[in-house]
């Protein structure tokens, strides 16, 4: 049912219009614009320090823009910010996991403040990402790649329409990247949208996959 929405939706779901951002003395983003439609993956590329992370944080509403508009489903933020955030899953450089809690406890809290969830569902998702063995271990005991997988499990579990992921495949091995690409493709087929900052492009050449180069 969601694929239909993707095929027929003529309106961009998410739009950035001429976003400018200063960080201290530096004019980081100079009029960045893009549109994101249902079922698309947009990968922001560019050298280090060009403002990929800042752009993602602006779009997510963590950073106020100097000028320009971020429009979600026709409403210009910050109007309707809470509704927007309920359909947004954001993953930063840091994983956002408490190292003293187990993977399962982390996921339980992270998902439950957004929607009701069962432990079985959490375990299933961990299984999909091949980290089911880590479920009951405190996160501090996991490897960097395993932590990243647990963090990605949270993104999948939130059932958000829009994923904003900052370098999502950091620390993932080849198998992990392949697994994750499959989940992204599935999310896109369901009409979801993904905005990433990336050094390494995912799903290259597939339909609906675009890049935005920052200079």
């Amino acid at each position: 049912m969601l694929a239909q929405v993707a095929a027929t939706s003529p309106q961009p779901q998410l739009e950035a219009r001429a976003v400018h951002l200063w960080r201290g003395e530096k004019h980081l983003l100079r009029g960045v614009s893009f549109a994101l439609y249902s079922g698309e993956l947009l990968q922001v590329v560019g050298p280090n320090g060009v403002g990929k992370t800042s752009l993602l944080r602006c779009v997510a509403g963590l950073l106020p823009t100097e000028s320009g508009e971020i429009v979600w489903q026709g409403r210009q933020l910050p109007e309707g910010r809470d509704e927007f955030h309920r359909e947004l899953a954001y993953l930063a450089h840091v994983n956002g996991l408490k190292s003293d809690l187990t993977a399962l406890e982390n996921l339980h809290f992270g998902v439950s403040i957004r929607r009701p969830v069962t432990t079985e569902e959490l375990r299933e998702t961990l299984q999909v990402l091949h980290v089911e063995a880590c479920a009951d271990l405190p996160v501090r005991a996991l490897s960097a790649g395993q932590k990243r997988r647990v963090a990605l499990a949270r993104i999948m579990l939130t059932r958000a329409a829009l994923w904003i992921l900052d370098e999502p495949i950091t620390n993932l091995d080849k198998a992990g990247i392949a697994l994750f690409e499959a989940r992204i493709a599935e999310h896109m087929r369901a009409g979801g949208m993904i905005l990433t900052a990336a050094h390494q492009l995912l799903l290259q050449g597939q339909p609906g996959v675009r890049t935005l180069e920052l200079r």
């Binding site: 509403g61 963590l62 106020p64 954001y90 403040i113 059932r159 329409a161």
Partner: protein, 233 residues
């Protein structure tokens, strides 16, 4: 995509979730939870050493000593209120959860008070007795501290949210928060003093309760606004 918009949990549920999470974290790090309490006891021990072992002299200043020690200990405890969550990125997720941030932060502050404020309230009569405080003022002491440390927690949480992204922000935090907390100290300590002289204390107790209500109802909005600025960096 509309069908997959998650139904959001109620406010009571969120409160319980935050409480459960932070209590669980505290149990795994109970040593850190105890530190402000130990600090409280140590500070009150300094006064007999610095002034005099004579209980008659200590009794006169005991309300002030207990209250100042409680204030400093609550200040010390603030360091652990938001900093760990901001550093490991979980606070960012709270900001982006689509739930009212003011409520999440209030729930967090409440849990923090249960872990650091409440033990102090319960410990206060013992400390007070060691300073020569008569047993008859225990109820007033506990009541003023219970009401007062709540206000201190909320005011402190605003300061902590403002300074959490500042490196070495703990001295700054004290500078911001202590002046704001002075009225609470005045009403709290003077009420205990009045009780020791057998005078009525309903007035200052009511004022403390009013302050607590006032801070709890408006403080969370300031906390949330401050936190949104702090997670920008």
């Amino acid at each position: 995509m509309q069908s997959s918009i998650p139904t959001t949990p109620g406010l009571g549920k969120i409160l319980m979730l935050v409480l459960a999470r932070d209590l669980r974290l505290a149990v795994r790090h109970w040593d850190q939870v105890l530190q402000p309490l130990i600090f409280f006891v140590i500070v009150t021990t300094l006064f007999p050493l610095a002034i005099s072992p004579a209980l008659d002299e200590l009794r006169k200043i005991s309300p002030g000593v207990v209250w100042v020690a409680a204030m400093l200990s609550s200040l010390l405890a603030l360091e652990s209120l938001f900093r760990p969550d901001v550093e490991d990125g979980t606070m960012e997720q709270w900001v982006l959860s689509g739930q009212p941030l003011s409520l999440l932060l209030l729930a967090k502050t409440l849990t923090h008070w249960l872990l650091t404020g409440l033990p102090l309230v319960l410990m206060a009569p013992i400390v007070g007795t060691a300073l020569g405080m008569p047993q008859s003022v225990w109820p007033v002491l506990v009541a003023t501290l219970a009401l007062g440390t709540g206000s201190l927690s909320v005011l402190g949480a605003i300061g902590a949210a403002l300074t959490v992204s500042v490196r070495r922000g703990s001295v700054l935090l004290a500078l911001l928060v202590l002046p704001l907390e002075m009225p609470v100290l005045i009403f709290g300590a003077r009420a205990v003093d009045l009780a020791m002289h057998g005078e009525p204390v309903a007035g200052p107790l009511n004022l403390l309760a009013a302050l607590l209500l006032f801070f709890v109802s408006l403080g969370p909005f300031a906390m949330a606004a401050a936190m949104r600025i702090s997670v920008e960096s």
